[in-house]
Amino acid sequence: MSVDNGPLIIGFLCNWCSYAGADMAGTSRAAYPANIRIIRVPCSGRVDPLLIVKCFEEGADAVLVAGCHPGDCHYNEGNYYSRRRFALLRALLDFMGIEKERFQVEWVSASEGKRFAKIVTKFTEEMIERGSRKAS
């Protein structure tokens, strides 16, 4: 891991809304901490729970999944499925000792660049406060 100081956060962002929202954060120079590493996926519905669990089992401190707001999915329905899937996964992970705060799901539209920056900032600060999973 090359995040020397602070938590490693992995972000899965849907191409159409949230990835574009993160781009928007860039174009509007809305700064946020550099801990997050973003992986582009076509849809939040493409994010396999296997990937999330793998992130945590391999020592990531937190995972953010972001997709289009419900109703705005580029593929009409993808985020409705991910909403259900992650509601269950979050409960299971928490039960197994990965606090639900470490696995966050957010809806970010392509125009919400500033909001994306805010979400990441808050999330990173929370994770710094909680400390690294490896250290605990």
């Binding site: 409705y80 499925y81 509601a87």
Partner: protein, 287 residues
Amino acid sequence: MGSDFTQQIRDKAKELLEKGTVECVIGYETGSDGFSARPAFIYEPAEVERLVFDNTCSHNLVKYLLNKKGKPTAVIVKGCDSRSLNLLLSEKQIDRDNIFIIGVVCPGVVEWGWNNRSDQLQIRCNWCRQHNPVIYDFLVGEPVTEGPPDDFADIAAMETKSTEEREAFWREQAEHCVRCYACRQACPGCYCIDCFVEQLDPEWVGIRIAPEENLMWNTIRAFHLAGRCISCNECERVCPVNIPLSLLNRRIEREVLGLFDYRAGMSEDAVAPLITFMKDEKLGIGE
């Protein structure tokens, strides 16, 4: 109960085999320890005397139907087992036309091991709310009134622990796990040709037997059963190192029940909660 149920099952099995309705009856017979039941595959009418039904009939025989595709087969199911029949029907793994279901109103099954009998009911029977089969062609026994809704006390107890304690608990369990996959083999919902755990590309789970890899296996095994687990608890019963898998399964089951008011395997045309959705539901995700 035992001898009466046994006789009814034998009579029915004999009739089905004689008429040629089915090629095989999957039921229980007494094992070589002289008391505990084991699965029996009866092909000849003359053999039906081998069949028994008693409170050691633990196995979920539905799993064996997956090897009988396309062949008319009768199967003996308890309440919980019958739900897995619905699960497999809804997932198009078995063909209703080829199956004759002998449902048994389950009196509960006891804990037993090799040469080791007890009178104590298995834990699954404590939370069981499905003594009556939900699907059958022939019913053995009188339907009983089911108990009040499950309070998931075991889950609540676990949740009183701190996150760190829970993490430590599961890590310790993972250290015991030898990844023998007995849990998977016993589970009627686990029928993938290539289980994710054994796939090499993508290699989701490393081949080394280490806590991280074992946790990955156990987490995803449970999650792949989200909204599909029918609480027969065979996985936990067969676990050689006694990992309390029911806690994982039932944690998800409680969530599925609470969020979607859904119990797996209650009807053969049910749509599992993760492959459907409602637009306006509030699930505490992204809100």
